[in-house]
Each structure stands twice: as C-alpha cells, then as structure tokens.
C-alpha cells in the first residue's frame, strides 16, 4: 500500500500499526517521538493499536526539549 510519511510517498506491505511503521522507518526511540496520523496527534498508547491504511498521511517528529 502507498502512504505518505513526513511528506514522502512510501510503499509498504500493509495494513500495519503505527508502532510497526516506526520500526520500518528505523525510528530508534519510538517513545521519544510524536506521531500525527491523518492530522490527529496520537497518544503513545495508541501506537500499538492504530492501523495505517492505504492513502493515510503520517508525520512523526522527535521530542525536542531540555533544561538549563
């Protein structure tokens, strides 16, 4: 199936979960990323349940924070 990941067209065997997609995208620390699926920001607890389907749009970004 074809989906869009961070603006790029990606072809994957599917359907698959967000958690599996992050593995396929070689995200080393999935607990440190935020995911937006079809415009909705997901809770981390949804990563294992939320299915990605053909034509979906997924954005993921690493957490950015720190302290003085």
């Amino acid at each position: 199936m074809e989906i869009t990941v961070n603006g790029d067209a990606v072809t994957l065997d599917g359907p698959l979960t967000i958690a599996r997609l992050l593995v396929e995208q070689e995200v080393k620390m999935p607990d440190m990323v935020s995911v937006e699926h079809n415009g909705k920001i997901l809770d981390r607890a949804e990563f294992d349940k939320q299915q990605v389907r053909p034509g979906d749009t997924v954005e993921f970004l690493y957490f950015m924070g720190g302290g003085a």
């Binding site: 080393k28 620390m29 920001i41 954005e59 970004l61 950015m64 924070g65 720190g66 302290g67 003085a68």
Partner: protein
C-alpha cells in the same frame, strides 16, 4: 543537502541571531525555544515557538506547533537544522537534561545564554549517544543572505 554533522559548521545570519536573543530576553526569566531551518548548514529562517513547560529551567516544544512548523519548512524546500533554547541565567553549554533529551538525529542544539545580560552568548552543539560536541557557528552580515524571520 549536506548535514551539519558533516560540515561541522552552522552559518547563521546576524538578524536571526538577534531574533533569537530578542526572543530570549522577551521570555526571561522563562526559557525561550524555537527552530531554525535552512539547508547545507546555512540557516534561512527562525521560528520562535511556545515553551510548553513555561519554566525557567526546562523547555519542550508544543507538538502541534512542531508539526505545523515542520510542514512549513518542508513546503519552503528547507530542512529543520536546529532547535534553539535559552539559558536565562546559566552559560551556553548543554545541561545534563539537554544531553539526556537531545535525541533528534542530526539536529543541532543552539543555546542562547543571557547569563551576561550585556553580552549574550550563542553556541551550537551536536548531541548524540549521550555526548555533546560543540559545533562552530559562523555569523554572517544580513546583506550576505536573503533570510527571513518568522
């Protein structure tokens, strides 16, 4: 596009440095934060953002803002080069928390220190595998680049 890790240099126009310092002063005593975009290690745009922690000792970007800025950067044919934040009262060097949370691959961490109010300091670091290495910063005059502040 060549990554900063390879170039070992981040080039920032003077007006963007001034915008980061002004943002840091405006947010003090809380930490300011935002994103720098460009290409090939040359910063073209600055995106001042909300500190979700609203704290003088911590910062984190708001995910909704982060996604929106990432899309805007992509639409402009640029890439996210750096995240910046201020240290209102401490030097421009990564704190243990900066190092622990500096997990975004290839992203430069720019720190604006207001410890010396009369002479703010701006330094850049690459943080990988729990280690921080300073990256050179070249500040250019505004007329050397066609840049924008957002």
């Amino acid at each position: 596009m060549r990554p900063v890790r390879e170039l070992q240099l981040l080039t920032i126009p003077r007006n963007i440095v001034d915008a980061m310092i002004e943002h840091a002063h405006r947010c003090a005593p809380q930490e300011a934060c935002g994103v720098l975009s460009g290409s090939d290690g040359r910063v073209r745009s600055v995106y001042p953002m909300t500190n979700a922690d609203a704290s003088s000792e911590h910062f984190s970007l708001v995910p909704r803002e982060q996604f929106d800025v990432a899309r805007k950067i992509r639409a402009e044919g640029q890439e996210m080069l750096a995240v910046y934040h201020s240290h209102p009262a401490t030097p421009a060097r990564p704190s243990p928390e900066d190092i622990r949370l500096g997990v975004a691959p290839g992203i430069v961490h720019v720190i604006v220190s207001l410890a010396d109010q009369n002479k703010p300091a701006v330094k850049a670091f690459l943080i990988e595998d729990g280690k921080a290495a300073e990256t050179s910063v070249r500040i250019t005059n505004e007329d050397e680049d066609n840049v924008s502040t957002t």
